[in-house]
Amino acid sequence: MGFSDADLAAIWLTLRLAGITTVLLLIIGTPIAWWLARTRSFWKGPIGAVVALPLVLPPTVLGFYLLLAMGPNGAIGQFTQWLGIGTLPFTFWGLVVASVFYSMPFVVQPIQNAVESLGERPLEAAATLRAGPWDTFFSVVLPLARPGFFTAAILGFAHTVGEFGVVLMIGGNIPGVTRVVSVQIYDHVEALEYAEAHWLAATMVIFSFLVLLALYTLNPAARRK
């Protein structure tokens, strides 16, 4: 007993999805987190709430709306068709787009908290030394807020690995394209293949534990104390 080829394909696909999503989220989420941490705009509340929505919404709600929005009659679907790339449901990149929405709060919020706790002083000091915004970001903010980025990356990755409801709604269960580990486990359970389900499910439990263990023990913030 062990992993079948289909299980291994699902594992590899899941890691690829989570990896790409995490990188994209760090790129997209950082400016959003930065803005949320520093702005005094009226829009801080509404935008912050939208970013946090996936924390509260059942994944099937998100998946259902994404299925409609990314479909041939939806707004996103019309746009992607106009771009000439067809529609996103049932594709790997469709899952990436969905995961970016779904895992956004797990990346934005730790970075936002880290930037907020920096305060004004390091930035003012950088300004008096005539550092440009990019220089300030890479030489001051990034090193000081590193624990926040670390947490963001780990949580974003882990949360995408655990994604199920959204994938179920827009994936179409295509082997090697959209059949991720959580869906594969669900399939095993539904087909009464409990031994196969146990292998994958236990692996997920161990993986999740190790990720959180890493988060709590390796995080530079925790070590500094």
């Binding site: 299925l67 179409g172 269960n173 539904e190 009464l192």
Partner: protein
């Protein structure tokens, strides 16, 4: 005074009678594809017998796992005949209670008017973006769909365009939202009062696949439940059968 006493006696007698023929409650696990007809049947069942059927809808595989682990259901209406048979073998049912309550009809359906023709030529031409089927591993309708494709010699041509719903309800959603231009679903999903309600459809001839038998069974915990026995009897009656047929099932 005397009249009052008489009223009271009548009232007590009525109460006693009601207690004797006590209406019971039965918890029923119902396959998702049978949701619409079962809601109607349960309402009629309550009217005609006084018993109450409390319905839970979901996938048969999940129900099987829950029943094995002590879920409080007395009756199981499965989407297939394999799971009730398995429960029977495992001694989890009331012997002799298993029977086929409905035979599913497969339909190739599109939300777009005129997209699917009466000869299913659209399938043979391959003139579609995606073809949705229920997971053949999990759903009898999915297995039947694959059998039809195989029989028509279209498996290889269709495979790259296949998308799978975890169950027949999700498959319907893929087609309804237009994400898949067509799909194999249950006739019961698009039929009401004996008519297909929208889009375009090819009702798959039943000789193209193994019959999709949906079996019902009384579970061990329903052994002494009068409502459970009454419900299974009711399902085999003419009234229930007429309702079942009006949703596109054979029986």
């Amino acid at each position: 005074m005397q009249a009052e006493l008489k009223n009271m006696v009548v009232g007590l007698a009525a109460l006693a009678a009601a207690t004797l023929a006590r209406a019971e409650q039965v918890n029923v696990a119902v396959a998702a594809n049978f949701t619409a007809p079962m809601n109607v049947i349960a309402a009629e069942f309550a009217k005609d017998t006084g018993h109450e059927a409390k319905l839970a809808f979901g996938s048969s595989g999940k129900f099987y796992a829950q029943i094995k682990n002590g879920a409080p259901f007395q009756v199981f209406l499965s989407a297939d005949d394999a799971k009730p048979a398995k429960l029977e073998q495992e001694g989890m049912t009331v012997a002799g209670s298993r029977f086929t309550y409905a035979v599913g009809t497969l339909v190739l359906w599109s939300a777009t008017q005129g997209f699917v023709d009466a000869e299913a030529a659209v399938l043979k031409r391959g003139a579609y973006n995606k073809l949705a089927v229920a997971s053949p591993k999990l759903a009898p309708y999915g297995a039947a769909a694959m059998e039809v494709l195989e029989g028509m010699g279209l498996t290889a041509a269709a495979t790259p365009k296949l998308v799978q719903g975890e169950n027949i309800a999700q498959t319907y959603q893929f087609v309804l939202s237009g994400n898949a231009e067509l799909g194999f679903i249950a006739l019961s999903q698009v039929m009401k009062d004996g008519r297909i309600t929208g889009g375009s459809a090819w009702v798959v001839p039943s000789n193209l696949h193994q019959p999709i038998r949906q079996d019902a069974v009384i579970l061990s915990s329903g052994k002494d439940n009068a409502a459970a026995a009454a419900l299974l009897k009711y399902l085999q009656g003419d009234k229930a059968k007429a309702i079942i047929r009006s949703y596109g099932y054979d029986i």
